[in-house]
Subunit: 289 residues, 4 copies
């Protein structure tokens, strides 16, 4: 584990950079200040980069649009690998008919539509269509009535033995400087304990996220894992997952892991990044700005 | 483990009977048919009995009243031991000032009021009174907005290092013949995982429930554990808890554990009741009816 | 939570003191230096005291003898409440015939002998006597071959649906200044996961330990929980268990919880003692020494 | 889920077959009777096949040799994907110096030797070389003293913050018709709980196993996931992992999952295979035998 002063020197060592989104590129207030310089430098150096994110609330197109709206044009849909995309791939491969019931916003559900099936909010499942439900997806924590619809999801799963996908494994996410919000991953774990069945989870630290991004590169050119570095703010997802997949890893201290207790958290969890860096920002003056 | 045909013969063997409530004395539709004969027989034989229930939604007085309303007058408040009463005892002993915030119905909170504190729904906690919150209680699954107030409970517990009581450890409860409802115990476990702290749980199988009932008897006369039998429909709470406390136990098949898979469930869990009986009803004709 | 400079002032506030053993009265090297003054003061003030310990490796008589051998005569067998004694009580109440198989030293097993049963090391169970095994006890981490006998315990429990008692819930214990040893509680949890059954655990933080000590007092005189304080070095057992039982609690920093991270650990676990004190020693000069 | 009478018809539907080893190709007594016909048919039909196995006790060369010794020549080292190979890949990518300490047989350790490091049994780690230990591997349940070396592993991990690899995630494995043996995966979970750190696990159901086999095919030709079927006897590893990776799956009833309770287990776990088949054997007479 090595303390690195400037993030630019990490970019210089690798050909491909995987970035986590929240706590690295953006905060609850908007873009991480200065992050546009990082992408300008990446483009100038002709480095490849991907956003690898536990987010199923929107399609890659919508996610990219949200960066464009904030002024960061470098992040295009083909650069984004989300746990929602793995959910979509699973449905394409394994579910070819019936109703895919989901907890999440209606908008979040459109992009997971798969040939032969149609998506339906859990709230619309009832005695007459229950038999046609062929999968249930935990997509997002918003867009439904928690009391009504989480209870309904439990009762659907007691009656129907169908695959259940958790499209975002996070337990909570930051809402403001002081508050967090319960993520759909926590709700899914609660329901899993009640019904006693095994759900399928997509999202870091699981290898399938990293493999998906890795494959996007391999489709165009040969690549070796030691050309890639994973940059993230969370030990349990970004760093553990990156390490396990065989990548070098950078823990940045601009999000979940705070500067004053990073060392303590690393010692307590046994999750050791290759490097620690304050943030993923290329500093002013480092590169002709 | 012994299959018993008539419940009356179990009453004849013991001086004190502990009953679980749901699935034993009542169902989602009302009283268990014929259960009034069991209590008539207990009274006639001068046997002692207690209701030992994971229920914090109402005071003993209100719980007894709900039996009276259905026509069962034998169950008086002094016969009821609930996980809510243990919560009240904890607050009396350990919390002597400030606000006791709770998730549950307003009515459920009155009876846990303790000298020096006052109870307040989580929804009313805000930046100005947050510092005065001295305990948080998971009381019941109704009476609050799940989305708003469970999220608020998480954020209170991230800011205040206070005791947290789970007043009902059940994960789910039957709502109708086919559906269950998520119980406050499941919600508490989800929040505990998110905030990473140790909550205090009252309710079977924990020994403190049995001890509380045991002490009620001892206050009036000497008693030995082998004079008591625990009657319940749930292996993981009634039978495991009764066994561990050193009591003989009866599994009845009128609730959670179904006749066709009772043996399988006992083998799978390793929780072995002393007796199995169809229900806790004294049959017509067995006793002068 | 209040920082207390001298332990003597805590004794002055309560009528009964419950002590944990390891990290409070003794260390891996012998008695805690000066602890004899604490007991001299307790005797002089006519305070009651009990040792409440997760230890099933020896009988109360043998445990008391070990203190006498080190020069502390105040700790007599009737002052000791151990998780082994709860195991013995369970067997007396619930197991009246057959073989009680155990993992532990032969000496540790004698005192749990119960009328009608006899104890036998797991190593001596074989195809010819397997059918007579009526309970299995995880007593101690020594006195058997881990490879042979833990594997045999798994296979006994796959064939026999019998109660399983974990007589010591600790996960590890200190062996020297730098090293720990795996405790029988960890081995039991591993076996429980493999066989998928519910074991019965005795030992702090479970209430039954505290109740047993509480009952010893009540047999002689009326007592209220607020006359008692629990003194221990471990948040997850001594302090959590004491708090839950409704007692005031003192965390001492002479064992498992180290002075430099006590506050961090309390914040992380949410387990808050009533007091924190360096150790349980009455200082020289405080009381006529 | 579809009941299939003859395994041959499954081969006919796919281009690539992934097989689990234990309970599918072999039992504790040797090869599954008739399994040689399956491989003769696969060769005749020019189908590809791979053995995907949670086994780190031997190198692919040694594993293939064990099939040859039993007379099954079709299984060559390049057909085998084991969790041990993923461990070797991890070490090659992430550990470039120092001592790789392991629990397992000395023979099992040779094939994970990585440039710059050397492997050493945990028993040989001591105060003088402790500082050079750069990784610890849970390889196999044999070849070491459980009491001495599991305890030593705990103490190494309390002193050194290094990556820990669990090279076989199984909890137990069959030893004979009636007995199982605790696998290294269970021992690793016990140690992980004691030291409180996050270990890295390779082995089904984790996707990395399937990806490794998938990549072996892709190196030679284009392949789509729907050309592949995974055949296994265990719901929690073979079927869950295969499903999650997006493959069709066949549950065979010749190993862990028994014919009389397969339906119950599928309903209880929610892990639904695409097909159920008695075994993976092409029947006599089905194909010119």
């Amino acid at each position: 584990m090595k303390r690195i002063e400037n993030f630019k020197s990490i970019i210089d060592k690798y050909n491909v950079i995987f970035f986590d989104a929240f706590g690295v590129l953006k905060t609850h207030q908007g873009l991480m200040p200065g992050i546009e310089r990082t992408f300008a430098y990446l483009e100038a150096q002709k480095k490849e980069y991907y956003i690898v994110t536990n987010d199923a609330s929107r399609s890659p197109l919508q996610l990219a649009q949200s960066y464009h709206n904030k002024g960061l044009m470098a992040i295009t849909p083909d650069r984004i690998v989300s746990s929602g995309m793995l959910t979509k791939e699973y449905l394409d491969l394994k579910v070819d008919h019936g109703i895919v019931a989901y907890l999440g916003t209606p908008e979040s559900s459109h992009y997971i539509e798969s040939p032969g099936c149609h998506t339906m909010p859990v709230s619309e499942v009832n005695a007459s269509n229950m038999d046609k439900v062929s999968a249930l997806i935990f997509l997002d924590d918003e867009g439904f009535s928690w009391f009504e619809d989480i209870n309904k999801a439990v009762n659907i799963l007691r009656k129907r033995n169908i695959p259940v996908i958790v499209a975002n494994t996070d337990h909570a996410y930051p809402l403001s400087a002081n508050d967090v919000s319960i993520a759909i991953g926590s709700i899914a774990s609660m329901v899993e304990n009640i019904v006693g069945k095994n759900f399928i989870r997509f999202g870091k630290p699981d290898s399938q996220m990293f493999m998906f991004a890795y494959d996007l590169i391999r489709e165009r050119r040969p690549i070796s894992k030691n050309e890639i570095v994973m940059v993230g703010d969370t030990l349990q997802t970004d760093i553990l997952g990156g390490n396990k997949f065989g990548l070098d890893t950078v823990l940045v201290l601009s999000g979940n892991t705070l500067p004053h207790n990073a060392e303590t958290r690393i010692a307590a969890t046994g999750i050791v990044p290759t490097y620690i860096c304050d943030n993923a920002v290329v500093e002013l003056g480092e590169f002709g700005f």
